[in-house]
Symmetry: none
Subunit: 409 residues, 2 copies
Amino acid sequence: MKTAILSVGTELLFGQITNTNTVYLSNKLNMLGYDVMYHYTVGDNPERVFDMINLAFEDCDLVLTTGGLGPTQDDLTKEVACEVMGDELVLDDDAMEELVSYFKNLGREMTENNKKQAILPSRAKVFYNDAGTAPGFALEKDGKYIICMPGPPREMTRMFEKSVMPFLESMSDDVIYYRMIRAFGIGESQLETELMDLIDDQTDPTLATYAKEGECSLRIASKKKSRHEAKEAVDRMLETVIERIGDYIYSCDDEELVEVVCQKLMKKGLTLSSAESCTGGMFAAAVTDIPGISRVFQRGLVTYSNEAKMDELGVRAETLDEFGAVSEETAVEMAEGLKRVSGSDICISVTGIAGPDGGSREKPVGLVYIGFIYGDKKLCKKVLMRDVNRKWNRHYTLLSMLDMINKNI
Amino acid sequence: MKTAILSVGTELLFGQITNTNTVYLSNKLNMLGYDVMYHYTVGDNPERVFDMINLAFEDCDLVLTTGGLGPTQDDLTKEVACEVMGDELVLDDDAMEELVSYFKNLGREMTENNKKQAILPSRAKVFYNDAGTAPGFALEKDGKYIICMPGPPREMTRMFEKSVMPFLESMSDDVIYYRMIRAFGIGESQLETELMDLIDDQTDPTLATYAKEGECSLRIASKKKSRHEAKEAVDRMLETVIERIGDYIYSCDDEELVEVVCQKLMKKGLTLSSAESCTGGMFAAAVTDIPGISRVFQRGLVTYSNEAKMDELGVRAETLDEFGAVSEETAVEMAEGLKRVSGSDICISVTGIAGPDGGSREKPVGLVYIGFIYGDKKLCKKVLMRDVNRKWNRHYTLLSMLDMINKNI
C-alpha cells in the first residue's frame, strides 16, 4: 500500500528538532511491507495541513500523521483530518475517562484545554495514549486511511508499537518476514564486501546493510504469501551469512549488545560490578537500564579522580605515577580492586582519554584500556579509536566493554 | 521569502538514515530570515521529483534540494531542475577542471560516470564542492529560485556555509532573531495557560511552546529589518515571560539542564559526587559527558545492591530493614555516607523504583527519594512520577536530581 508520512509542527520547520518520528515510521512501515512514497512536513496551519493530506491521497492510500494532537490552540491535526475524511468530532467517553485518571494519578489539576483531547472523530478507531494525554486514531473513507498520532517521539513510538502496528498488520496482504542481524567489530564497507555476491544477486530474500554508531546491521527480508514461506527463505539466507561473518554477530534478532550481555548474565546467574573512569558511569547506566538486572549488577564505581581510584579500588599511587591513570597497569589494578571490594563473578574496569582535551603524543585522545576478571581469566584490552568526538569515544568504549564480556563468558 | 526544502533519496524513505540535512537547513534558513514552509522527501524518481518541485513553487519562491547530484544513474535532480526551470545542460569547463584536480589530488583515476557531474545548467550559478565531487548550483526563472546541493551531510553543510549562505544573504530583506527558553517542573499546557494572553495577542514577537521529554521549551522570535530591532523585541518579551514563569526556567539559550548545572559548578569551583541506586550511573554518565568536568566531578557510586549501600556508603542495616532501600531515611544516609567518603562540596544520592517490577501499594513504581548535601543544607526530596516506563522514570529522575542541584547552589 502506497503510504505518505506527514509531520505537523512549526518547530520542525524552524529546524529546532530533528524529525526522528519520520525515520522511525519509515523503517517500521517498510518492515511491514508498506511502500513509503513521500515524507511531508508542514507547520501548525490548518489550511496547509488540509492541502497536504489531500495531496498525499492523490497518490497514496494511507497517510500517517504525527503532531498537532495536543491540548493547545495550535494543535489542529484532528480537526483537519476530520474535515478531509468527512467526519465530525464527538466527545469520546473512554478517552475522557483516561484523561481524568491520567491527571488524577499525577496529582495535577486538569486544565480546561486538556479536555479538547477527548473530542475525537465519530468513526475513528481510537488509540489510547499511555505515555501522554493526546489519543491517536485511524479513520477510513472510500478505502483511504489516515492514522494520526501525537508528536512527542516517546508517545508516538509507544502508540505505534502497541496499537498502530497491529492495526496495520491486519490490513496488509503479503507477509514480510525479516531478521535484523547485528554485528560489532566490522565496518559497513567490510560487511558489504564479505557479502557482495549475495547482495548483488538479491531478489528475495533481500539484504541491506546499515551502519549504526560503532556497529553494523544487516537486514534479511522476504515477502511471501505466508509467514512460514518467508521465514524459511530468511533463515536459509541467515545460515549463509553466519558462515561468513558469524564471529562478529552478536544478535540475529535486533537486540542491543547490552541486552544480549545482560540476558546471558541473568541466565548464567553471574554477578557483575564495574569500575569506570572515562565512561563515567555509562556502563553502569546501560546495564541498569535492563529490567531485572538487580540480581546481576551489584555495584558500579565511577572513579573519576585519581584519589577515587586509590580510595575505592586500592589502585597504588606508584602505579598512577609510573604508568599514568590511562594505562594497562591501572586498568588491571582497578579490576583487581573491584574484585576485592565487590566479590562479583565478573569485574570490568575502564580507563581512557575521551577528549577533547587530555591527549598526548604517546597517549592520544581515543586510547582506552579495559580490564576484565572472570574466574581464572584476567584480561586487559587496549582499544585505540580514531578520535571522532567525546560522545562517540565514550559510546564506542561502552560497546567494547560489553563486547569483551560477551566474548569471554 | 517562502521556502521549501526537498530531500531526494530512496534511502530516506526506507528509514535507513535520519534526515539531518533538513533540520540543518531549516535552522540556517530561519536564522537568515527565510520562511521555511514545507519539507518534502521523495525517492530517486524523476517524475516525482519534477512534480514535487512544481508543487513547491506553487506556494514558495525558493526551493532547496539535497541529494541526487552524484555520478550514478539514479542521480537525476540536476536534469529535473533544468527541465522545471527551462534551461539546458552544458559542459562547465571550470567544474570539469575541479573534478580532474580532485581525483588527481586523491591519486585515483576518474571513472567515466564522474564526468556527468561537470555537466551543469547553462544559466546556473555554480557552487563548487570542496568536500566531494558533485557541484551544486542556483538557478532562477521568473523570480523563483532553485538551489541544488549534494546529499552527503558533510558536503552539503560545507557547500552551504561557503557558497549558499552568502548567496542567500545577498537575496534577503529581513532578519529573524529568537531565543529558546527551557523550563523544568511545568507541563506544556500549564505553560501555555500562564502565557495565554501573550500567545493570543502575538504578532511579533511570536511565542511557541514545545514539550520535550519531561521538560518544556518556549521559543520567542522576532522578524525585523535589523538584528538589533529583532533582538530588542525578543528581550522585552523575555522579561515579561521571566516575570511569569521565571521559577521554572533554567536556560534562556536552549542549553541542556546538565550543561547549565555543570557550568555553574565549574564557575563556582565546587566539587561533586553522586550515589545512585535506581538511576544506576546515569547521573554520573550525564555529568561526565561535559568536557572539562573532571575538575568538578570526583566520584560516583552506583550502589545497586543493599550490600553495596552498606559497604560503600555505610547505610545501616537497620535503616534498610525498617524503612526499606527506597525511603527518605536511606536516601539521607546514602548522601551522608557519600559526604564521608568523598568529602565533595555537593553530595547527591538517589534511591527509587524504576520499574517495571518492584512496586507495591505503599511504594509504587515511579517513587523516588533524592538526598542532597551542600554546606549546611541537607535536603531530601520525594518525587512521585506517573509510571510511564523504566527509561522515562530514570530519565525524569535524572532531571529532578539536576534540578535539585540547580536550585540549591
